[in-house]
Symmetry: C2
Subunit: 289 residues, 2 copies
């Protein structure tokens, strides 16, 4: 049996009791290490689970899947994923490989950012399509996520924005020389994402577009959701652009139509009492009682 086990979002103890029992009994345990991170590292997990973990990066899952699946038809192998195994990233490819190899699989679910964002007080019912905001480079500055946010806003829906993670990146020089030397991991912050959104707002305004969002649009920044030191900050897009929410992982929400109970909940995390006033006054078009 191949077990896909969600680890949840915080630390080693966010695994479910069922998941932990399975980890302890499997012959091999892999830790998916390319789509997300916990606030604790591999060592802390190994110590808590009492098991050696094999790090599985993207190359390994894609190119050495046979090794990963080896023996899973007669013994148990676990594949651990931060969040839920079918949350922000699906592992459909690995599921299909297992099924084709005659290996049964089972999923042990857990919280993922896609449902845990509900803790900020916005109703999950009222979210539209989830978007990813990627790091811009000098030559690559995609704006497609803005257009998806616009579609959601037009329907009154909130938009969860997952922020870019760069792990095992090679510099152009190392890539060209074939050197497997990797840059330090980078995790986009709420501030960086907000700045990119603000730049798009400026561009679109210059182009004369009807704006989906502007500097005063109420957004929610979230950091380390589920961890003891999680941070939630509600404010205007401009305010979030200068907010520091600390270490990774960050994500953010561009709000749509806000219901009164949602406004009351967002006030608990307002950046300043001014931001709070702004919530009721400057964005009143999205607030009905």
């Amino acid at each position: 049996m191949l077990y896909f086990i969600g680890l949840g979002l915080g630390d080693a103890k966010d695994i479910t009791v069922k998941g932990l029992e399975i980890v302890k009994q499997c012959s091999r345990v892999y830790l998916e290490a390319y789509t997300s991170i916990l606030t604790v590292g591999k060592d802390a997990l190994e110590e808590y689970y009492g098991r050696e973990l094999i790090l599985a990066d993207r190359d390994m899952v894609e190119q050495e899947a046979d090794e990963l699946l080896r023996g899973a038809d007669i013994s148990d192998v676990a594949f651990l994923v931060v969040g839920d195994p079918f949350g922000a990233t699906t592992h459909s490819d690995l599921v299909l490989r297992a099924v084709n190899a005659g290996i049964q699989y089972r999923v042990i679910h857990n919280a993922s950012i896609l449902n845990a964002v509900g803790c900020c007080g916005l109703q999950l019912y009222n979210f539209g399509e989830t978007v990813s905001i990627v790091f811009w480079t000098d030559t690559w500055r995609p704006e497609s996520f803005y257009d998806k946010i616009k579609k959601n806003r037009d329907l009154g829906m909130h938009t969860l924005c997952l922020l870019d993670i760069k792990v095992k990146e090679q510099s152009m020089e190392n890539l060209m020389r074939g050197r497997k030397v990797y840059e330090p991991p980078r995790y986009m912050t709420v501030s960086q994402a907000s700045q990119q959104l603000l730049e798009i707002v400026v561009n679109r305004r210059e182009q004369g577009d009807e704006l989906a969002i502007n500097e005063e649009t109420i957004c929610v920044g979230l950091a380390r959701v589920g961890a003891e030191d999680q941070a939630i900050r509600t404010g205007t897009l401009r305010q979030l652009a200068s907010s520091d929410l600390g270490g990774p992982l960050h994500s953010m929400i561009v709000t749509g139509h806000l219901h009164p109970l949602e406004v009351d909940m967002l006030q608990l995390s307002a950046v300043t009492s001014d931001a709070l006033k702004g919530l009721r006054m400057t964005d009143s078009s999205t607030y009905t009682s």
Copy 2:
């Protein structure tokens, strides 16, 4: 401290290790009992947790919140919720009451149907607004969920449909006589939801509307997601209307635009090889390679 603890979706062991530790140490433990159910009952939870659980129905949470919060400023009280505390139903009202009473709160997240549906192979990214399908009566037959499904389909998005739960309902006679006698709980099945959707399709066709879905639209029925005996069935809306997925809870998905990897995953749960053929042939407008 008031702890909101998600129980996940399957049985007693789907609580997280962290959640279980907190349950064992709290002075009182409430079990929210009106928005969802586990496949195991209160007794099984009490035995596994080694704690007495106080059932909290909607009336109690709304009318006796002071009693629920009593002492939570100086000791620990837990409020257990099937799925995630901020999943399908938010408990914002209770959060705000706690904050207003000077009581700190903390959320222990878990899987909810809103993220666990990813197990069927559809990407959570590609879901639009979640809808609720309610039991029709002779005199009340709302169709608003159809219009939301249409909006999502127009954008190519999948729609998760949460199906109605009726607990602690009173018959009209008992209600009028003021007798607190309740009907047996009712949980809408995938078959019932599909039949209601088919009726709407017929109505709208007669009205000459451009149809958002029809009898051949590919849908996914899910039952007891996360439990050992979970069932997933993919087929046309017509096929799901005559499918029996067993005991509660059920939910269903009306698919939008399907990506090739999503089609491959859905084939694993196709009702029949015919349904599978249909997936590639009769709904080809939604499938691009």
